[in-house]
Symmetry: C2
Subunit: 158 residues, 2 copies
DNA sequence: TAGATCGTTGGTGTACCGCAAACTATTGAT
DNA sequence: ATCAATAGTTTGCGGTACACCAACGATCTA
């Protein structure tokens, strides 16, 4: 029969675990980030922007899988704090090129530093090596491998 | 000096990545789980219950890091579908021992099966080996290693 | 008996977020 | 030049998730 028992090797599902871990991280992160005027969602956006070095808002919405209207609101908050910058694309002046500012990069670094203790707590069961492994797996999975693209016209702006 | 420069090796922070991945998983999971009458939060609870084989509601709230009043609501939903069972602890009749029913275990398995495609998509960048590694890291991190405890009186119920 | 604990209910407030409609600025095609 | 399509923006609606508070009954402990 074609029907293999399926039960053979129940491939482990990470879904619930990721969700669970994310929740624990988020709960703790909120209180740590609050003094910096950031919320978890900001962190993700800033991280993505840093990792890919700029993006159109539409691309950002796609990456974050957020509704574009909410991306606008999110960016408004970040821009009002001078953490990001919206610049018109010279190639297509309808587009906004969103980039991290120096202030934004610095605050992101500070935030990550502040979050160290949170991660230490949540990932206390993991060794440094394991955390690094975890990081690279997550990085790879999230496709933020920064291979190419995202770069067509985000470079020159003298 | 005790003060190492700190800047030496910026240890990678998984926080934002976990959050990001969790979001992507959740978005896709919702539509897959809906036909089964489940939502992501249910999945986590069911998974925890299966992994530790029963728990008091208070312990559950602690594990899920949810407010206990919200746990009640969550369990109400699950119980009304006969996915879990509340039994009074013989040792302390104030306690409810929450356990997965056969129906619940079966539905959980079905849900996980249905979620396979979602995980395949979200983790498409990872090989099977890498996913297994990821799973064990997450499992370890979440402390669901089921070493001991949780067991004091959840065993006997003839 | 008194006080603490577990679960339960109900209500409040907040944050997140998708969706829809309407608008501007800009592009590209005719 | 005109017109449709696109990127971004604003406003508002609705729904979910969730923490927090107060109050209550049942039960355990002292």
């Amino acid at each position: 029969m074609t029907s293999l028992p399926v039960v053979n090797q129940p491939p482990h599902r990470c879904g619930a675990l990721v969700d669970h871990l994310a929740r624990r991280l988020r709960l703790r992160s909120e209180s740590v980030l609050a003094p910096l005027g950031l919320r978890p969602r900001h962190l993700i956006a800033l991280t993505v922007l840093r990792d890919r070095g700029g993006s159109s808002q539409q691309d950002l919405a796609k990456t974050l899988e957020m509704d574009s209207t909410n991306v606008v609101a999110l960016l408004n908050e970040l821009e009002s704090e001078n953490l990001i910058e919206r610049r018109r694309s010279p190639a297509d002046r309808r587009r906004h090129l969103v980039e991290l500012t120096g202030v934004g990069a610095k605050l992101l670094a500070r935030a990550e530093f502040a979050l160290a203790s949170v991660e230490d707590e949540v990932f206390s069961e993991l060794s440094d090596d394991q955390r690094e492994t975890l990081y690279s797996l997550l990085q790879q999975a999230s496709g933020t491998t920064e291979t190419e693209a995202c770069r067509e016209d985000a470079v020159q702006a003298p």
